[in-house]
């Protein structure tokens, strides 16, 4: 299975490049081995990244909502700040004014919700991820951190790659080895990576792990490693959480979500507005985020993560929202 990606689509390559039509790999399902599920009605016109850019002008105001030193930003504050007309169970106001010239909806935009109320820090997600990707003990693509809230109580926070919408790792990579797919997933091409580790310096979440040592034994696999499924890892290059995007495109949960016995980790799709966890709970993503005051981590770094956290342990939150929900 050869893997090809049109790098002209990516940021930083826009110098002198005319508007490129999306590559065949992105426009039709299966043509490059990606079983991309296309939404009905947009088989022939996936949305280009440019359209997204324009779509989301409303998102810039987000940063202004962040209080000084606030570690988390509330999803509700974010939604309200964007257009102010959020109501009931939806988020109808989200950047509505800027949506006017949308051409067609994109296929999928993968996201994740981690409900910290249920996480007991067992580490099953880490173990499942390491097993599936043949990682070493040190390579915790999803790592459960022991945190402390403002009252001094401890809680656990699993940290996958945040799949940032504005990924600092992507900007600093000198050779475009890090790229972002039009499903919103940030991946690493380990056949191109030169191992400079600039991305590790840039990532504010410590989500990147280098393959320091040769001689790590891997099980033999019938397929060559791809950016979507980089197994085995290549020595001398950087690896990180891929969101198990191959699983997601095949209607499966990611390894960490499937491996979580508490159902804390939800895989989500922003387009179809669905989130699902290992307990089979299927929720409407936007409503779930809104109702539970979901937040993103380190908004001050302007990364716009695709991973939302649901708090519930008295963590600092930069809103006046009543934190009444407690599982």
């Amino acid at each position: 299975m050869s893997w090809k990606f049109d790098f002209k689509q990516l940021k930083g390559m826009e110098i002198g490049e005319p508007e490129q039509p999306p590559s065949s790999c992105l426009s039709s399902a299966g043509s490059c081995g990606l079983p991309t599920r296309i939404a009905p009605g947009d088989e022939d016109s996936p949305v280009s990244r440019r359209n997204f850019l324009r779509l989301l002008g409303g998102g810039i105001g987000t940063a202004a909502l962040v209080g000084a030193g606030a570690e988390f930003i509330s999803y509700r504050a974010w939604a309200q700040g964007s257009n102010g007309t959020s109501g009931g169970g939806g988020m109808s106001g989200m950047g509505a004014a800027t949506m006017a010239d949308t051409k067609a909806p994109p296929t999928h935009q993968w996201a994740m919700v981690i409900d910290l109320r249920n996480c007991d820090g067992c580490g099953s997600c880490t173990a499942a991820c390491q097993k599936a990707h043949s990682l070493t003990q040190d390579q915790t693509w999803i790592k459960v951190f022991s945190m402390e809230d403002s009252t001094g109580n401890g809680y656990h926070m699993p940290r996958p790659c945040m799949q940032c919408e504005n990924p600092p790792c992507l900007d600093v990579c000198p050779v475009h080895a890090t790229f972002r797919t039009d499903q919103g997933v940030v991946l690493v091409d380990q056949d191109r990576c030169i191992g400079c580790r600039m991305c590790m310096a840039a990532c504010p979440y410590e989500a990147r792990y280098f393959n320091w040592n040769s001689g790590v034994s891997y099980p033999r696999l019938p397929v060559e490693p791809t950016p979507e499924f980089p197994v085995p890892q290549r020595e001398g290059t950087v690896g990180k959480c891929t969101f198990c995007v191959g699983n997601l495109n095949n209607g499966l949960l990611s390894e960490c979500a499937a491996g979580c016995p508490m159902g804390s980790i939800y895989n989500a799709d922003v387009i179809t507005d669905v989130a699902v966890n290992s307990m089979g709970e299927t929720v409407k993503l936007s409503k779930y985020l809104y109702d539970n005051d979901a937040v993103t981590y380190k908004p001050e770094d302007n990364t716009h993560p695709r991973v939302w956290y649901i708090l519930g342990h008295g963590q600092d939150l930069d809103t006046d929202t009543d934190m009444s929900t407690n599982a």
Binding site: F7, L55, A96, T102, P168, M198, V274, V283, L285
Partner: protein, 692 residues
């Protein structure tokens, strides 16, 4: 400038006695007499000392240094085979010793080149015995510094990807561009002043070397005769390159610092970093010039050329730069330290595990050199050399202290990471250190130790002492009583008009100004507009089937859907939409309602246009499903009402980014054209001028 040592022009070297009439007075007084010839002989003999057959000491040095360098290569091969973990790296200390080496080595190179360039541009005649050594040091260290990028990379064999797939938003791409441009400039800057010397050495009877050397020198000297036109051409070319070297080196170290400062890491994301790195480079570079000068002075007995005054002046320069660097270090620490927002790395630096290294820098790299320069008794070649060695080592340690604490700090939570030296990283670093003297010794085996042409041009007094033309004239005419006053005023003009006391060369007074304007003029600016395209909106048709579940659009074409289900009064009805996103039969609950008046109704905001399957389940007693109804509905939503999360972020620099990149690339192209054009111009025109 002292007033009482006009007879002792340096390191206890008595002018009158040793030269026996060939002192500065005699030299400057006669433009074509025996004095000039004798001075030339002295200079030439000394300059080619390094080219002669070498003694046992030299060979021992070369062999030992080569062994250390070979050990470094062995360690690198070991690292390639076993991975970078063998050099002590881990996921917290992802940047460590090799990057410190890159920064430190390229830094000292910058110091050597800039000192030479600035002294040349300001017409400091005392530079003459130092420039060749400084430029040679700059050349050698920039090569070694650039070579350290290879052990730093996890995949060195893919290094050329940076040319094949450059990401212009990465500081490392600009690092590569800046360093390679600077390397080109360093090579040219080393070669141009060499041209006259190659011709002189070829003519000099006392010069060692065989036919091959003569042939190569003849080719490279471009037919140098030393006539007026050739001198003017060479001087113009040197002025251009000197003018370029200074901003180039500033750019190299600024961009190098942005590899750190353009991340969000506390301790690296500092606005002070670019000047911080530039000054560190100048400071350590000046120090290494002192060490180099000291070593060659001792090794080739150049005491009569490189004098105590040279060391004192470089010492002053070093101390001034050291104070600026100390100030910038304080600036770096006080900002975050005061507000206390992210003080972990400061605590680790000042009192934690890096405290020993940090305070070593403060003592050996700042206090000690400044004290040694401040006290007149220690302002000797030995004292300055000791200070400089301290600075060079301490500044390398300082680079480690800059790199490690912010790298190893926990960004989320948990313990601090750490770096541990292994024999691999130590051996490779030591090999780089050993490569400096080795390459310098080999380099100067083939070329003269200092610029013979410049030395002859400035004369003895010019070389060892910077004095004004008036002072020279006063000395020449024997008016010694005027000298102290003249020296005190420090007038630095090269030669008084009409004065015949010095060998006048008019090109020295002609400055090639305005060359910088060409650089700015060549900068390309182009406007790039991002065009957005818009296309047809997908149309949809509603096919509502009468059933127990009815889906309608409240306003045709608008987003909210009304789901109405029939049910017995008081019955609870759950509404779902089927989703295939994560499974084949996912049921996403979109609401529930109690059927009052036999009708349960919810509204639903679909997020996309397309066919959706809705399910209504009437709940019976005990949560059992009493009745179920399904309806497929082709949702058509007005994009204006599309409720969607903000899933793409518009980057603030997107608009200017392209133009910024084009401008910077244009400037870089202009610099390359200017550098190569200068070289080509010299190479083409110089031989023609010889024929006329």
């Amino acid at each position: 400038m002292g007033t009482n040592d006009k007879n002792t022009m340096g390191d206890g070297f008595p002018v009158q006695q040793e030269y026996q009439g060939l002192d500065g007075r005699a030299n400057v007084a006669s433009t074509n007499g025996a004095g000039k010839d004798a001075w030339e002989e002295v200079v030439r003999e000394a300059a080619v000392r390094s080219m002669r057959r070498h003694g046992r000491k030299w060979w021992t040095g070369v062999v030992l240094l080569t062994l250390v360098v070979l050990a470094g290569f062995y360690a690198w091969i070991y690292q390639l085979r076993h991975g970078m973990g063998s050099a002590g790296y881990n996921d917290t200390a992802f940047w460590a010793v090799y990057l410190a080496d890159v920064v430190a080595f390229i830094g000292v190179s910058y110091g050597g080149a800039v000192i030479s360039a600035i002294l040349r541009l300001t017409g400091q005649s005392w530079r003459a015995p130092l420039t060749r050594l400084a430029e040679g040091m700059a050349l050698v260290t920039v090569l070694i510094g650039a070579a350290f990028i290879f052990p730093h990379l996890g995949r060195p064999e893919r290094f050329l990807n940076i040319i094949a797939y450059p990401n212009t938003s990465s500081p490392l791409v600009w690092d590569f561009l800046a360093i390679s441009t600077y390397m080109l400039a360093t090579v040219i800057f080393f070669y141009l002043p060499l041209i006259p010397d190659l011709a002189i050495v070829n003519k000099y009877a006392g010069a060692p070397g065989g036919r091959a050397r003569k042939a190569i020198f003849r080719a490279l000297s471009l037919g140098w005769l030393g006539n007026e036109k050739q001198r003017r051409l060479l001087h113009g070319a040197l002025t251009i390159v000197s003018l370029l070297i200074v901003p180039l080196a500033v750019s190299v170290h600024s961009v190098l610092s942005w590899a750190f400062a353009l991340t969000s890491r506390p301790g690296w994301a500092e606005t002070v970093f670019p000047p911080y790195f530039v000054i560190a480079a100048l400071y350590s570079g000046t120090a290494l010039v002192v060490v180099t000068a000291s070593a060659f002075r001792k090794g080739y007995h150049l005491e009569r050329f490189i004098t105590r005054r040279h060391f004192a002046r470089l010492g002053y320069l070093m101390a001034a730069l050291g104070l600026v660097y100390l100030y910038l270090t304080f600036v770096d620490l006080i900002g975050e330290g005061y507000t206390g927002i992210t003080t972990g790395w400061i605590q680790q630096t000042v009192t934690g595990r890096y405290a020993l290294a940090f305070w070593f820098y403060v003592v050996a790299g700042e206090l000690l050199p400044i004290v040694l320069v401040a006290i007149k008794k220690t302002r000797t070649p030995a004292g300055m050399t000791a200070a400089a060695v301290g600075v060079v080592i301490a500044l390398w340690v300082k680079r480690m202290v800059i790199i490690l604490p912010p790298a190893t700090q926990p960004l989320v939570s948990g313990p601090w990471g750490g770096y541990h030296f292994t024999w691999v990283s130590i051996t490779i670093t030591l090999a780089g250190v050993a490569a400096i003297p080795l390459l310098m010794m080999l380099l100067f085996h083939f070329i003269p130790l200092f610029s013979i042409d410049e030395m002859e041009e400035v004369g003895y007094l010019g070389a060892v002492e910077q004095i004004s033309a008036e002072t020279t004239a006063a000395i020449a005419s024997g008016e010694y009583e005027k000298v102290p006053a003249l020296l005190a005023t420090g007038a630095a003009s090269q030669a008084a008009p009409g004065s015949s006391v010095r060998r006048t060369r008019p090109h020295l007074r002609r400055r090639a100004f305005g060359t910088g304007a060409a650089m700015v003029g060549a900068a390309l600016l182009a406007a790039g507009a991002i065009s957005l395209f818009s296309g047809a909106r997908p149309a949809g048709a509603s096919t509502a089937t009468p059933f127990s579940l009815v889906v309608t659009q409240v306003t045709p074409g608008k987003a909210p859907l009304a789901l109405t289900a029939s049910g017995s009064p008081g019955q609870k009805v759950d509404f779902y939409v089927k989703t295939t996103t994560f499974s084949t039969d996912g049921m996403m609950q979109i609401g529930s309602a109690v059927a009052s008046n036999g009708v349960a109704e919810v509204t639903y905001l679909p997020t996309w246009t397309g066919e959706e399957t809705f399910v209504a389940q009437a709940l019976g007693a005990g949560g059992t499903v009493a009745g179920s109804a399904t309806q497929t509905y082709k949702v058509t939503i007005d994009p204006a009402g599309l409720p969607k999360s903000v899933y793409e972020y518009t980057r603030p620099m997107d608009g200017v980014g392209v133009n910024l990149v084009r401008t910077l690339l244009g400037i870089a192209a202009a610099v390359w054209i200017l550098l190569l054009g200068t070289l080509v111009l010299v190479a083409v025109r110089m031989p023609r001028m010889a024929r006329r």
